[in-house]
Symmetry: C2
Subunit: 115 residues, 2 copies
DNA sequence: GGCATATTCAACCAATCGGTTGACGATCGC
DNA sequence: GCGATCGTCAACCGATTGGTTGAATATGCC
């Protein structure tokens, strides 16, 4: 399936999935390691990863028995083009982004990662 | 309710709602006029507008018996900050955006606005 | 007042979502 | 080969989504 705006935005609409993307920003990770910080089953995380993968936001490659997850930020490009069309946003600096991530992750932590 | 990334991205995940936002980019519109090009009931459009409104993407103001819908592009700012954090996208020019919109609207037209 | 117009509400429906559990198939280490 | 580990599959569950229809609520016009 070619990723559409529908699938990309739908994938981004879940806080668990956004948290996963933020984790993958640091480094590629195995499925088990992705699941570790979350208070939910491995199967649930596996489903989230499948959704991110179908949206093109990550790729997964199996090496041995571990499946590595890798961020694919290019999938955000079309969505970013779409959004920037409204409001002519100037380029956002990464400090803004980091502060944003801290706020969001902090909020999730406060409610136990998930609510 | 203060709009969250959850509600903003979820609102953007539906093609009907994105088409509505694109229409409002041109001008403010009454609910009935928003509904006109779509092959679905007025009530359905009313619900879509409520979702966009809860996400902060539009505002609605009732004047007389007609309720005017107005784009509120600022609500996209947080989401845009979030997305640009991945991939350091350069500013996108509006020509790109217009071509993009044409493609998307064209695709929807081809399947009868909705599939 | 009375009718038409603009919009929402309420109830319903099928489909999807986000989660669970338990069984299963691969692969590694020994 | 065997047991442990990695990950998915399948079936199930309750909640939400995107749509419908019909009735209800404003408001405007004459």
């Amino acid at each position: 399936m070619t990723p559409t705006l529908d699938t990309v935005f739908a994938a981004l609409a879940d806080p668990t999935r956004r948290a996963i993307l933020a984790m993958l920003l640091e480094d590629d990770m195995a499925v088990t390691d992705v699941a570790e910080p979350f208070e939910m089953s491995l199967a649930a995380i596996s489903k989230h990863l499948a959704i991110l993968s179908r949206a093109g936001l990550i790729s997964q490659e199996k090496r041995g028995r571990v499946k590595w997850c890798k961020l694919e930020p290019d999938a955000l490009r079309d969505a970013s083009v779409w959004m920037q069309g409204f409001g002519q946003f100037e380029a956002v600096n990464l400090d803004d982004f980091e502060r944003f991530l801290e706020r969001e992750l902090g909020a999730e932590q406060a409610e136990g990662v998930r609510d």
